[in-house]
């Protein structure tokens, strides 16, 4: 026994799986007939999508006056929802890129799934900057394309940085996702028996054979993409926070915003991944791959990022007092005790208090409880954006212009409608694409490692011993 030893980890994939059974488990979902329940859920999602189209149609017809925007709150639910959805998206990239660079093999069980969530969440987010301009037909002004006014966009504006950041983020996430999908689409192409599936998956697979010369370049590309996506995902929410931090509104103009926004984004994103994962693994019987160990690890990330967010909330308060700036001090007192105190305390309860329960191991591994907290966290994160946006605007420098913001039914319908977009896309993804990265999961099975074979090419599984803790700790 050597002096240094790795802490033994429990097997990543439970059950006695070999390569073929993994393929069957995942591809069966795509190849067997559509379950009836899927149609029911799709119908509900489509109804919500219809609500969204209706709300946006009326918005384009009538203008942004249908929303609750007024003076001085000229930035309401549209920006709140945008930041909320983009933030949710960040978990997917964190799982696919950052955890990949840190060689966290457990990510392979959830990365496909989380990346899909990222892409659909960013689509929902992008709806809001698209529609909030009111005159949707001039949205092309944000892009540097020659136009009849012979003018160019203002490159000094954080809002324009945001256009570049979020559209780059969407494009790179989509490419990353597709690169991961190519070998799995090839698996589906080879498993499919009917013409339409063969053709459709065949086109998507681009003629992938599993050649090791191709895998060699593929792995390099995957690593480079992970290396690119890591600073990218950090930059995106940093730039989103610049939308606020670069302005002169009290409560917004702070340097803590970029890291605090990024931590909040990861926090809410992991909660969303958990919400979706816990349902899907039950419905599709993927408990062997998405295990309770995964859930526990994600809960730890929620605990860490939740504590970072809580620290940032408290630090904001301290710095407001320490800065000696009257308006800064006033806005933070107003947030906690003023007209929006109810929202502030919902935020504190959901984001700061609730994740702290995950210090208890039993609760980290409790499925129902985790599901509950994952929803609480996302409610809290929505309120965080509400508090930041609305309370700062409603009570700014001039008390005579203060007013109380209330949303209208159209604000609510537009927001609820984005769930229609999200779930329509997500259900289609679950039905037609492999929800688990098949090739990557196979690569982390012990049978995939040539070191687990002897010179006669016989497989000798590496015995993993998980020592029993000496004292039963909670």
């Amino acid at each position: 026994m050597s002096k240094y030893e790795y802490v033994p980890e429990p097997a990543l994939v439970k059950g006695n799986h070999d390569f073929a059974s993994i393929t069957r488990l995942v591809t069966d979902v795509n190849l067997r007939p559509t379950p009836k329940l899927w149609y029911l859920f799709m119908l509900i999602a489509n109804a919500l999508l219809g609500v969204f189209l209706l709300a946006v149609g009326y918005l384009i017809w009538e203008g942004t006056g249908i929303w609750g925007l007024m003076n001085p709150v000229g930035w309401g639910w549209a920006i709140i929802n945008f930041v909320w959805w983009v933030g949710i998206g960040h978990a997917g990239t964190l799982i696919s890129a950052i955890l990949f660079l840190f060689r966290q093999d457990w990510r392979t069980a959830i990365n496909r799934f989380a990346e899909a969530m990222t892409i659909f969440a960013v689509i929902c987010a992008l709806m809001f900057p698209g529609i909030h301009v009111g005159r949707i037909w001039v949205i092309y002004w944000v892009f540097p394309i020659p136009n009849q006014m012979a003018m160019w966009p203002n490159f000094n504006s954080p809002l324009l940085w945001d256009v570049f950041a979020v559209s780059t983020y969407f494009t790179v996430s989509l490419l990353f996702w597709y690169v991961g999908l190519v070998p799995d689409l090839a698996t589906l192409r080879d498993k499919a028996t009917d013409k339409i599936r063969k053709l459709a998956y065949g086109i998507g697979a681009l003629g992938w054979t599993g050649s090791n010369r191709a895998w060699w370049n593929y792995e390099k590309a995957y690593m480079i993409l992970a290396g690119l996506a890591t600073p990218l995902v950090l930059s995106v929410h940093t730039i989103v926070s610049f939308d606020f931090a670069v302005s002169m509104i009290p409560g917004w103009h702070t340097t803590i915003f970029p890291p605090y926004f990024v931590a909040g984004a990861v926090f809410s994103g992991f909660a969303m991944v958990l919400t979706l994962m816990l349902i899907c693994r039950k419905v599709y019987g993927m408990e062997d791959i998405m295990t309770n160990d995964h859930m526990e690890k994600m809960n730890i990330i929620i605990l860490v990022t939740g504590s970072m967010v809580g620290f940032a909330y408290i630090m904001e308060f301290f710095i407001a007092w320490y800065s000696g700036v009257e308006y800064e001090k006033a806005i933070f007192m107003l947030r906690a005790t003023g007209p929006y105190a109810w929202a502030y305390w919902i935020m504190m309860l959901c984001n700061v208090i609730s994740p702290q329960v995950f210090w208890v191991k039993k609760l980290r591994r409790h499925v129902g409880f985790t599901f509950f907290i994952s929803i609480v966290v996302n409610i809290g994160m929505w309120f965080e954006r509400f508090v930041i946006t609305v309370s700062s605007l409603a009570n700014d420098y001039l008390p005579s212009s203060w007013d109380y913001f209330s949303p209208t039914i159209w604000d609510v319908l537009t927001y609820v409608g984005t769930f229609g977009i999200f779930f329509t896309l997500f259900l289609a993804f679950l039905r037609f694409l492999p929800m688990i990265a098949i090739a990557e999961i196979k690569a982390i099975l012990p049978q995939a490692d040539p070191h687990n074979y002897d010179e006669n090419q016989e497989y000798h599984p590496h015995v993993v011993e998980v020592p029993k803790p000496k004292v039963d700790r909670v």
Partner: protein
């Protein structure tokens, strides 16, 4: 269509010899033997990337890094050139007295476009190096080859190889413990 061509056995020619092996370790061992025997037009196929097979197959370092670097430089300089042309040369606009060539404010967009172009380079460069998309591949004529994306481990030595002799190749595969050997016709 290519389907009709493959069905006419008279006109079809030998593409190579394909052998199946039972596990990743066996694939690594046979790769070493194929390299030792001096073949260079061969490839191995597996449902996932196998640790260490690049060394066994004697693969050169991937050129992808250089492609990405080129694209990254293009994105970086392209972003600066675009903003310089638009805000300094073509339509300088005085925005609260800030300089036209306002480098600090341009950092986010320069960064984003560098990442965007590098990602294009990584993805499309990888497809280019791998010769994808590929509309026709003789290996797909082999029914058994469908296992390559499921749980099969294959080696194929192409007939184009200067050292290719069908019986010698077969013998090599047999000695290496192939579970199945088959000729591939185009």
């Amino acid at each position: 269509m290519s389907m009709t061509k493959t069905q006419e056995i008279d006109t079809s020619e030998l593409y190579g010899i394909l052998a199946e092996f039972k596990n990743p370790k066996a694939l690594i061992d046979v790769s070493k033997k194929v390299v030792e025997a001096g073949y260079d037009k061969f490839d191995t196929y597996a449902p996932f990337p196998i640790h260490g097979i690049d060394k066994a197959m004697n693969l050169p370092k991937s050129k992808l890094g250089w492609i990405v670097l080129g694209h990254g430089i293009l994105g970086f300089s392209g972003a600066i050139a675009m903003m310089y042309y638009m805000s300094v040369i073509d339509y300088p606009l005085n925005i609260s007295g800030k300089p036209f060539f306002n480098v600090p404010a341009w950092v986010p967009i320069i960064f984003e476009l560098t990442v965007l172009l590098s990602a294009f380079g990584a993805v499309f460069g990888m497809f280019f190096l791998n010769g994808l998309p590929k509309l026709h591949n003789p290996l797909f004529n082999v029914e058994r080859f469908k296992k390559a994306t499921d749980d099969g481990f294959f080696v194929c030595i192409e007939a184009k190889d200067s050292k290719f002799q069908a019986d010698l190749v077969r013998q090599l595969f047999e000695e290496a413990g192939a579970t199945h050997i088959e000729e591939v016709y185009d």
